[in-house]
Amino acid sequence: MAKLTLDDLRKMRAEKKQIMALRDSENKDVHIVVGMGTCGIAAGAKATFGAIVDAIAEKGLTNVMVRQTGCMGLCYSEPTVEVVVPGMPPIIYGNVTPEVANEIVEEHVLGKRLLDNLICDKPAIDIMDNKGN
């Protein structure tokens, strides 16, 4: 990638915003995001990440994108995983062991049912969605 000019940066920002808004060009409309800070990794987030990727491969799902992110702040319930499925509210699950990860793919992504007893709340409002952005 060549060095950016001001115009390149602006153009790129506009483009990438769309992707962040989950209208992915590769038709991946389901997003699963795993918290991979030190706290998450210490609690086993790597195994969780692996289990999700495996479950998706096993079910032959092509519309799911798995990403990593930093600490969501819910350290008491690491590993945490956010699941965004079109037509369903975005959900954060806590204490996601590899078994729970399988359930997420099976129940939430395929069955469109939320899992009981594992949901955590989104910890804060997002300043990017606020006016002033």
Binding site: T69, G70, G73, L115, P123, G132
Partner: protein, 594 residues
């Protein structure tokens, strides 16, 4: 097929104990009765962080937040909200105050947290610069370079009211203006990512979750003060943060956001990492500079301040990670936006690492002016195991112990120092009635004594003395005059130590003496530790209630308990290490602690 609505019913401990389970059953019944079984899914969740107003019910996708919902309310909630699509006003948060809130985007927000510093943590992939750019990343740098002069950047930061988050709360704009005022030539921008407080991990998480925000801020600061070189001083114990920073720096260079002629402008700026070995004193700015220069990390007297004479005697600005993470937002959204958040004393937000005896430990960010009560009982979900709140410690080893009468103090730099603590970098440790104040003070003193660099005697000798007094008191050998001596030493340390470490090391002692004198007196006069933490002051004995179940014998780690089955057992006091395991394991209350 997806459901039309999801009812999230809080299944946290607090909500459950105020009839949350009955509520769930009622809601389920009402939904069945209304024939909505296939349209609505009921889900139980973990604590939603609002225990004081439990039970909580949240309706998705509208995101309506109902509080104090009783089982009797189930019918109305289902009929009105789910069948007719009308919000049940009387169950909304703040209904009493006449300013009901409906959703997150409403006028006010029910969620206590507000994320500026952590805006991208948990949202973007920290290894992807594109993710950061998509969330308005590098928009602040862009604006600074192409629409503002360096003076205007400094002015914007000054007007925002941002104060340094590394502990001292020095106005950031002012610091930058000092360095900018120095004659042109070599200058440096340094990011302090040493974060040595026990229990603190705000800066680590910020760097791990959003490394570019700090890089962008350093470039903006470099432009403002006229520096073209930056250093991030980070402890080697943070391997993940280091790796993510390295990836980020590499990516920023590739895009031309670091290096020569940034975005084709005339501005050059690059950043290098410097790894610290992890000494607490190296977080102090002059010691940190010495360490970057390759010398032993020891503080030196100020003035001259680093802004005048810093790295290699050149003007240098040192800012904390969290301070810096605010900068891109301040520049892109403007000082007026930032100025509206927080209190008159301190603008903006603060990130805390909430740990200790609270249910929801974690990383939180709240507007300045939030109270300890809101943090501990709403965001933190209250005290673990339903125990009693005793005290909170802010500012780590340099901070003070805050008793319950100050739970409602709005937190900012000024209010915390008024009650004998400090903001510090943001460790927040919550204690309950099983924590002994003397034990806590002793823990912090042990830390500072270990970490003192030894350069000046008030800190080196005073700290050791204080630690000895505390040990004596906790061993039951304390005397009344110890208290007076401790007060004198504390004052001397505060006044005469060379750096912040020694100047603040006695804060845990001073504040605990001020607010918990009764506990000191109890230890000294009655040789008693009410929390049962000071081991030398307690004895465990087995009473006649013992039925000889042998549970204690099996759990005692040092085999101090003897006795035959179905007969009364005895503890060999000489062997007992006072671990308290038997006391907890005995099902018949036959073991007493005194």
């Amino acid at each position: 097929m997806a459901f039309k609505n999801y009812l999230l019913v809080c299944g946290g401990t607090a909500c459950d104990s105020s009839k949350g389970i009955e509520l769930t059953d009622e809601l389920r019944k009402e939904i069945d009765a209304a024939g909505l079984k296939d349209d609505v899914q009921i889900v139980r969740t973990g604590c939603l962080g609002f225990c004081e107003k439990g039970p909580i019910v949240k309706v998705l996708p509208e995101d309506t937040f109902y509080v104090s919902v009783k089982p009797e309310d189930a019918k109305e909630l289902v009929q009105e909200h789910l069948v007719k699509g009308r919000i049940v006003d009387r169950l909304l948060y703040n209904h009493e105050q006449g300013k009901s809130l409906v959703t997150v985007e409403g006028i006010d927000f029910y969620q206590k947290q507000f994320r500026i510093v952590l805006r991208n943590c948990g949202v973007i992939d920290p290894d992807k610069i594109d993710d950061y750019i998509a969330r308005d990343g590098y928009a602040g740098l862009e604006k600074a370079l192409f629409e503002m002069t360096p003076e205007q950047v400094i002015d914007e930061v000054s007007r925002s009211g941002l104060r340094g988050r590394g502990g001292a709360g020095f106005p950031t704009g002012k610091k930058w203006s000092f360095a900018a005022a120095q004659p042109k030539g070599e200058k440096y921008m340094v990011c302090n990512a040493d974060e040595g407080d026990p229990g603190a991990y705000m800066d680590r998480s910020t760097l791990e979750g959003d490394p570019h925000s700090v890089l962008e801020a350093m470039a903006i600061a470099g432009y403002a003060i006229g520096a073209s070189k930056g250093y991030i001083y980070i402890r080697a114990e943070y391997p993940l943060a280091i790796r993510r920073l390295e990836t980020a720096i590499e990516a920023a260079r590739e895009y031309g956001l670091l290096g020569e002629k940034i975005l084709n402008s005339d501005f050059d700026f690059d950043i290098e990492l410097r790894l610290g070995a992890g000494a607490f004193v190296c977080g102090e700015e002059t010691a940190l500079l010495a360490s970057i220069e390759g010398n032993r990390g020891m503080p030196r007297p100020r003035p001259p301040f680093p802004a005048v004479k810093g790295l290699w005697d050149k003007p240098t600005v040192i800012n904390n990670v969290e301070t810096l993470a605010n900068i891109p937002v301040i520049i892109s959204k403007g000082a007026d936006w930032f100025n509206k958040i927080g209190t008159a004393d301190t603008r903006g937000t603060k990130v805390f690492a909430l740990t200790g005896k609270v249910n929801n430990t974690g990383l939180i960010e709240v507007p300045m002016g939030t109270t300890l009560r809101e943090i501990i009982f709403e965001i933190g979900g209250g005290i673990k195991d339903g125990r009693e709140f005793k005290a909170a410690q802010t500012g780590g080893p340099s901070g003070g112990i805050i008793p319950r009468e100050f739970l409602d103090t709005p937190i900012d730099f000024g209010s915390l120092s008024k009650i004998g603590s400090i903001m510090g970098s943001g460790g927040l440790i919550v204690m309950d009635d099983t924590d002994c104040i003397i034990d806590i003070a002793k823990f912090y003193l042990e830390f500072t004594v270990d970490e003192s660099c030894g350069k000046c005697s008030p800190c080196r000798i005073g700290g050791r003395k204080l630690q000895n007094y505390l040990s004596r008191i906790s061993d039951g050998r304390g005397q009344l005059k110890d208290i007076e001596n401790m007060q004198k030493i504390s004052e001397a340390m505060t006044r005469a130590s060379l750096c912040g470490l020694g100047q603040t090391a006695s804060n845990p002692v001073q504040s605990s003496l001020k607010y918990f004198m009764d506990e000191y007196l109890e230890h000294i006069n009655d040789r008693k530790c009410r929390a049962g933490k000071c081991k030398k002051l307690i004895t465990y004995t087995i009473t006649d209630k013992c039925i000889g179940c042998t549970v204690c014998t099996r759990h005692c780690p040092v085999a101090a308990i003897t006795g035959t089955v179905k007969e009364k057992h005895v503890i060999n006091q000489a062997r007992c290490i006072k671990c308290g395991i038997c006391y907890e394991k005995c099902k018949f209350d036959a073991i007493t602690r005194s």
